[in-house]
Symmetry: C2
Subunit: 307 residues, 2 copies
């Protein structure tokens, strides 16, 4: 099943795809995909069945898309989770490293990515995203996929210019029982991602959430990124270093997962034969339209508006 | 006015302090401080006035506290924002550097901070927190305080062990038009804070939100941190490097602020005459009770539970 959040006459609504060209609107009590997935399975199935039988039908082509979940409890993003990365890593964690993208950065399919010159370089990062259905803590790996409601697409826009600007080279304070004041200084680097990952419009997401029953194995999906029709990235979710089940399990042992939480699985990096690195697609300079497509899920397309 | 979110018979409720020892309960439509501040001023004033005249009165001492805002759109935290930091910074940004703490990490006053041995070191960070009333983008500095609904206290718990574990020393991909494949590698460090700042219970917050009319200048407040009654930090919000107005304005020019958003202003660092560095208060080893107090706002106290 393909489910999405759209805007109708200024109000949010939930749609279910009926066929390639049209979708039905669910009753008004559903305002985003989270409001649907929080309901008991029987009740939401009945609502979908009823809508497919007799609900208002809309052409998909003309829809105004919203992020599938309007204000997720968290958008957790896994860093450097592609098999192409180890060559680049001099040292790093043996477990998924994560950051949080604020919900205010999310925009729907078709909405403009708004960039200002002072953002510096901004490049796309094509990623599979997981939508959590049933929350939980300390979820075992072999039960983790039961907590996944479905899958969607996220473009984890990143400004390396702002990343460099928000990195400190500093002397961290560490305990040192032998020192007179109990501390010693350790030269360290620390970087803070709120701006470089979380600026407004840095999180295009959607259009569809495809329920997990339709995607029994999320590690066999072709994932591509195109800029103005030129194929840049041509990768496959088989190349994720940590699997969806491993990430859900690991994350839940530190951060309780809640229904509607989003987990972005990390950038697909493999270049197409014609394409370069996504890091060379500087949207601030180039403008244009950036698209991420995942087999069986759909295509997320957003124009750049330079302001 | 002092406003807080508490639990009554398993349901969330909002209370307003009536005197030193008791508070009144607002009508059931208010489920947290955000639900109150999103209402028109006249309507919320009327509700508070009515409750103070005839509402149910509860002793403050016995309350079960919740985070003032249950699921804020974002908890934005400013890093290294104390006048004591410049000596430690070898190079760093000239503007506020920020990260996002997930709402799932927040706990109320009195609730247990739950630590496991594998978290490694976990230390407290006493901070003033701002609760946004009116949202906005590109807010000018001189209008920024008009967007503040009130102030509260946050203990921005941090695991330097997990910070070190989630830091990559790697070769970042930078554009290089002169190179055959258009890129070059630049040795870099990058750290990801979801775990070390966002683990469950790493965000004690509250108990009270004090409305901004009662705190005309948020930069004159003594802020202290005590462990098991021993004064560790004795600082003043006068020592913030970037002011509340500067941070609200700067943040809003990248991340749209929404009603109920929380901004943590950065760690108060100045040691008391008897105290050491907060970095030496390793709660994973020491357990005990950790308290943060801010003049005119209150005291946030949480026991540590080692599991």
């Amino acid at each position: 099943m393909h489910i999405g959040s759209i805007e109708i006459d200024g109000s949010p609504a939930v749609v279910v795809r009926a066929d390639e060209e049209s979708a039905v609107v669910l009753p008004e009590r559903y305002t985003d995909v989270e409001s649907l997935l929080r309901e008991p399975v029987d009740r939401r199935r009945a609502a979908v069945d009823e809508a497919l039988r007799g609900g208002e039908r809309l052409p998909i082509a003309g829809m105004t898309w919203l992020p599938p979940v309007g204000r997720p409890g968290k958008v957790l993003c896994v860093a450097l989770n592609n098999s192409a990365n180890p060559d680049r890593i001099l040292s790093g964690p043996d477990t998924p490293a994560m950051f949080v993208k604020p919900s205010s950065s999310l925009i729907g399919h078709g909405r403009a990515i708004r960039l200002r010159p002072e953002f510096g370089r901004v490049h796309p990062e094509p990623e599979l995203a997981v939508v959590i259905g049933q929350g939980g803590s300390d979820i075992p790996v072999d039960a983790a996929l039961d907590h996944v409601f479905g899958y969607t697409i996220i473009n984890d826009l990143t400004s390396p210019t702002m990343r460099d600007a928000d990195t400190f080279h500093y002397r961290a304070i560490h305990p040192d029982p032998a020192a007179p004041d109990g501390i010693r200084y350790v030269e360290s680097w620390v970087s803070y991602p709120a701006r470089y990952k979380g600026t407004d419009t840095f999180g295009p997401i959607g259009p569809w959430v495809v329920t997990s029953d339709a995607i029994p194995d999320p590690h066999t999906l072709r994932i591509t990124c195109s800029h103005d029709g030129r194929l840049v990235t041509d990768d496959n979710t088989a190349n994720l270093r940590f699997s969806v089940a491993e990430v859900v399990s690991f994350a839940s042992s530190y951060l309780t997962l809640e229904p509607g939480d989003i987990i972005a699985m990390g950038t697909a990096l493999k270049r197409s034969s014609a394409g370069g690195a996504v890091q060379n697609v500087d949207l601030t300079t180039l403008g244009g339209v950036i698209e991420v497509a995942i087999e069986g899920i759909g295509t997320l397309s957003n124009p750049v508006e330079r302001r």
